[in-house]
């Protein structure tokens, strides 16, 4: 027998002196001043933290190219039209972002949009129901469709891909059934659905756009200063005031320029207000509420979330309900835009555009990462390309190919930056 070991010579004996807490010497810390800020930004980019930079660069490129080719891409009326066109697909894309963060996919959203628009139109026009009630009923029906997807996915355990594929067929069937043999239902003239698209706040009163353009950066500044004060009071590091000032300035330039352009034409379009409002609200929910945290947790690790006490099934079901609700709302904007609800609404590339928008905007296909702002940015890219190509009278075939190439570029960027992030120690 070997000599019995005593506790004194055991390996890996813990050190007698506890390690003092503090910063790890290997850790990069940001230097003060603008140089440190630039340095941190450069390191983030090198580590694959691209954020929305590629999309913003892409948008600028698109604007420059089409402006130089057509000469009137950046005119106020054209820009105004783009902001109206993006509401429908943008709202669907916000729902897609939620589903993607969960690490799932929803293929039914186009059909849900179509079915919801058909239900609202048939109830309001053919059945003579009050249009508000018809709209609410259609949105409720869309939410129930999402509930069904969620139940089959989260409770029964059918993969979301299959459930929503079945949903895609079922709801587009329902859409045709509801519309009946006649097919197309024109919007009630001057009714709620018809005016969704054509309304400008205050009938084109320039005050609305200016007010929002001033209010948004002001609120942003106020919120960040308050957070910084709380953090400093609590002894935590806060974002430097100069940093906040630069960001506020950039936001103000953006909002004021947008307001100026919109006011050159007919003022602030309702579709844009609805879309941006939904984006701001959902962004707040995702980042600041326990519910949003739970969505990210489920997307990052189902088992971890479950053990932490997150009701995974409830989170999943609610996300599918939310995405279907937003798709229903998006469908109404589509109907408003084209003047009618028909059998084609929500078909074709509506779903693919929404998914492409979310991904182009920077939401990861791999789950656990994303922002609802990416829906807005992505759909702006897609709509700008579509509008620009329309202006140069490019064939639909060309449009599809270019949009496809942009989507591929976005996904490649996502995969590459994911790889760099892994190498750089971030996911």
């Amino acid at each position: 027998m070997t000599t019995p070991s005593t506790p004194a010579d055991t390996p890996a004996a813990p050190g007698a002196d506890p390690v003092a807490p503090g910063a790890d010497p290997r850790l990069h810390t940001r230097a003060a001043g603008p140089a440190g800020y630039l340095d941190a930004a450069r390191r983030r980019l090198a580590a694959g933290e691209l954020g929305s930079l590629p999309v913003v660069v892409g948008l600028i490129l698109i604007a420059v190219i089409f402006q130089s080719v057509t000469g009137h891409f950046l005119q106020a009326d054209n820009l105004t039209n783009i902001t109206r066109f993006i509401a429908g697909p943008g709202l669907i894309a916000v729902g897609v972002v939620f589903v993607l963060i969960l690490g799932e996919i929803d293929l039914s959203l186009g059909s849900v949009a179509g079915a919801s628009a058909a239900l609202a139109a048939v109830l309001a026009v053919r059945q003579g129901v009050n249009e508000w009630i018809a709209v609410l009923a259609a949105l409720a029906a869309a939410t129930v469709m999402g509930l069904l997807h969620g139940l089959f996915f989260a409770r029964v355990g059918v993969p979301a891909f299959v459930v929503t594929l079945a949903g895609m067929l079922t709801w587009s069937g329902l859409q045709e059934y509801v519309l009946g043999d006649l097919g197309t239902v024109n919007n009630r003239h001057g009714g709620l659905i018809a005016t969704l698209d054509t309304t400008f706040l205050g009938d084109g009163d320039i005050a609305y756009a200016w007010a929002l353009a001033v209010l948004a950066p002001a609120l942003y500044l106020l919120a960040h200063l308050r957070t910084a004060r709380r953090r400093t009071a609590a002894g935590l590091t806060a974002r430097p005031t100069a940093d906040t000032a630069i960001r506020t300035g950039a936001l103000a330039v953006l909002t004021l320029a947008t307001a100026y352009a919109l006011n050159q034409d007919r003022g602030l379009p309702l579709p844009l207000v609805v879309l941006v409002g939904v984006v701001v609200l959902t962004d707040f929910v995702l980042r600041r509420t326990p519910y949003g945290r739970q969505i990210f947790a489920v997307g990052g690790g189902v088992e971890a979330a479950r053990r932490a006490g997150v009701n995974v099934a409830r989170v999943r079901i609610s996300v599918f309900m939310l995405s279907a609700f937003l798709a229903g709302l998006g469908g109404l904007f589509y109907a408003s835009q084209q003047g009618s609800a028909d059998k084609q609404l929500g078909g074709g590339n509506v779903l693919m555009n929404a998914i492409a928008a979310a991904v182009i905007g920077g939401t990861s296909l791999f789950g656990g990462r994303g922002k609802t702002w990416s829906a807005l940015l992505g759909i702006l890219v897609i709509q700008s390309i579509t509008t620009g190509l329309d202006m140069v009278h490019a064939a639909q075939a060309i449009q599809y190919m270019i949009t496809g190439a942009v989507l591929l570029a976005a996904v490649v960027l996502d995969s590459l930056s994911r790889r760099t992030r892994t190498a750089g120690g971030r996911t």
Binding site: S5, P11, G15, P21, P290, G309, G368
Partner: protein, 261 residues
């Protein structure tokens, strides 16, 4: 490890279909005691830990908590009592930062919204008292090393201020330095007066930090030893069951060879 046990198991039995996983198991854990739970694969360590964590309710026997009989039928029951479990697979969300992981499922709120400031403050407090060094509490945990992840997982168990912490193979996948970090942390848990159940295959770790070793064999108690004054061979033979087994034969052969030389 003075005073009454924080957790006491008496004659605990658990059956899965035809398999008698646990038979009449007794176990005592005192405050400020590190109890190593050892045994061969299939000895019932995981099952026993899961009965304490409330994952598998016991079929027979009693569990007393601070001298009071309790029924643990759900993980929430155990958590509510103050039993925290750190599982082998760490169950952290890779995409969330350290703070979000620490408070996952029990986020601090302010007017219904996440209170990041309060959570970050509490997290720093907790990490400082445990002398845990994390480069940046706002990095996603995917960016951390294996040891740091383990430490975060253990720290997460402590957010709820438990009285008993169960660590399932906390050093299984770690290097030398990282193992030492985790063992340091286990010692600090003991200093804070927590009861710790350490499930481990690693005799070196067990001897380094445990006060008591409880051996399970084929679902039964097979001895409880104080670490001081017990040889590794005594523990190993308790694990393997008898002197006539592969490990003992190997030891014997080794000794014979030495004698021959």
């Amino acid at each position: 490890m003075t005073g009454a046990p924080v957790l006491q198991l008496r004659s605990v039995s658990k059956r899965f279909g035809a398999v008698q996983a646990l038979t009449d198991v007794d176990l005592d854990v005192h405050p400020g005691e590190v109890l190593a739970l050892v045994g061969d694969n299939g000895a019932g360590k995981s099952t026993l830990v899961k009965t304490i964590a409330g994952v598998h309710p016991v079929d027979e026997g009693t569990i007393t908590w601070h001298g009071r009989p309790v029924r643990l039928t759900r993980p929430q029951d155990a958590q509510a009592l103050g039993i925290a479990t750190v599982y082998q697979d760490l169950a952290l969300c890779d995409n969330l930062d350290v703070i979000a992981n620490l408070f996952l499922g029990r986020e601090k709120r302010r007017r219904g919204l996440l209170d990041e400031v309060a959570m970050e403050q509490r997290a720093r407090e907790l990490l400082n008292t445990l002398a845990i060094r994390i480069p940046d509490v706002r990095t996603p945990v995917a960016a951390l090393s294996g040891g740091q992840r383990q430490v975060v997982a253990i720290a997460r168990a402590l957010v709820g201020e438990p009285a008993l912490v169960i660590l399932d193979e906390p050093t299984a996948a770690l290097g030398v330095e990282q193992t030492a970090q985790v063992l340091d942390l286990v010692e600090r848990l003991r200093e804070r007066g927590l009861g710790v159940i350490l499930v481990s295959h690693n005799m070196a770790d067990v001897r380094a930090v445990a006060d008591t070793v409880a051996v399970l064999r084929l679902g039964r108690n097979n001895g409880v030893f104080p670490v001081a004054g017990t040889t590794q061979e005594q523990i190993v033979s308790a694990i393997t069951g008898a002197t006539d087994n592969a490990h003992a034969r190997r030891q014997a052969r080794h000794t014979e060879e030495e004698d021959a030389a």
